[in-house]
Amino acid sequence: LRTALNDSKIQWFHIPVGLGIGFLGLVQFYRVSKREREKQEFEGQDAEGKAKKRPRIRHEGPWQVQLMSALPLKALSRLWGKFNELEIPYYLRVPGFKLYSYIFGVNLDEVAEPDLHVYPNLAAFFYRTLKPGVRPLDPNPNALVSPADGRVLQFGQIEGGDIEQVKGMTYTVDALLGQRTPTPSISSASQSDDEGDASVRSRELREDGELVKKDEEFARVNGITYTLPDLFSGGSKFKKHSDLEDQSVKPSAVSVAEVGVDLALGEKPWYDLLSEERRHSLYYAVVYLAPGDYHRFHSPTNWVVERRRHFAGELFSVSPYLQRTLPGLFTLNERVVLLGRWRYGFFSYVPVGATNVGSIKINFDRELRTNSLTTDTAADRAAEEAQKRGEQYAGYAEASYEGASPILHGHALRKGEEMGGFQLG
């Protein structure tokens, strides 16, 4: 090896390499200067008492996190995606994919396509399908099944609006799912465009004959009708709380009590109502998909998706290590929040992207584009317009599936049905 290194002539492609590095440097320089400019504007305005701007979220954590947050992660992720779409020479495909499978523990016996030559590149192999029958559903009809292959990182009951009590992974449900009910301006992402309906519809709750308007009705828990804003936003104070720069701060009893005060449902905090009646509560589960796992995801139960919120956030790695060190990671990363209902009430499904797997695909939502330059710029533009109007930007683009089925007011999914997947880059 030493003689080879010493004797062989090294050829640098200095021009393309130089251009590449220069381009990344320019992108990073533009982002830092834009951030500094916003910061100055923000301080200036506050002193003059103008409408409050959306505070920039600061990523707390050790130097690795600081380093990561300074990198242009989305640009890198898109480059990674482009790199993996490069076609692999025909005869290198089988050894290449076998090496990948050996490193990441992929079981090739389960792959639907026996001939690996069919996959033109790694991106196609990554999004492989499995043979029918290799993932039987749990026979218990009341079971909620895992949406994908992976590892259960966290699960539990939601207490007081927090998803997790373990250090470093505490964030509020609002920060994860978004805070507001849809506004009439949302676009419709239903399957048949001509049925799309861009407005929020009123709907009857037949079970007890009570007529409840849509944006006031979220669930019937213990005989009380809750609205989504009531349960998840709780008024401006809570909103301010969820905008806190350091998401890892657990809400103090006082702040949560303030939430209670804001609720139209009476003086007690919302979560007290839930726990006191001891009949329904909110639960959560976090499933982590490793690089070698099957990356299509399925429906864990029979439910109806009513709307989706696309947060075009960042693309930090979601490795278990970073989940422990970067507080509120899931509220920072790009994610698609699918909101709907199942037999026991509210149900939400949140695929969260990561640096190497930045694209989230939803089979029944042709409008959705994740990890793309257009959605990022659209998100920035929306934030600026909201800022000009003196409003707070909700942080997501919303679409409704109400047009998918006039009866169900949403897109129905069956247990085990494929919903979409994660793609490289």
């Binding site: 590892r151 026991y344 949140v350």
Partner: protein, 43 residues
């Protein structure tokens, strides 16, 4: 990549008369590897 599920379900508790557990029950352990279709829990 990661998938987060947040959902509402009947609170898991022991039935005072029969002592049987009813409501939501987890069927996994923390850190457990799961396959698609495997039960995470049941009511």
């Amino acid at each position: 990549s990661t998938i987060v599920l947040v959902f509402e379900a009947p609170i898991g508790e022991a039935d005072p008369q029969t002592g049987a557990h009813k409501g939501w029950t987890w069927a996994v352990e923390k850190g457990q590897r799961v396959k698609m279709g495997q039960a995470l829990g049941y009511v």
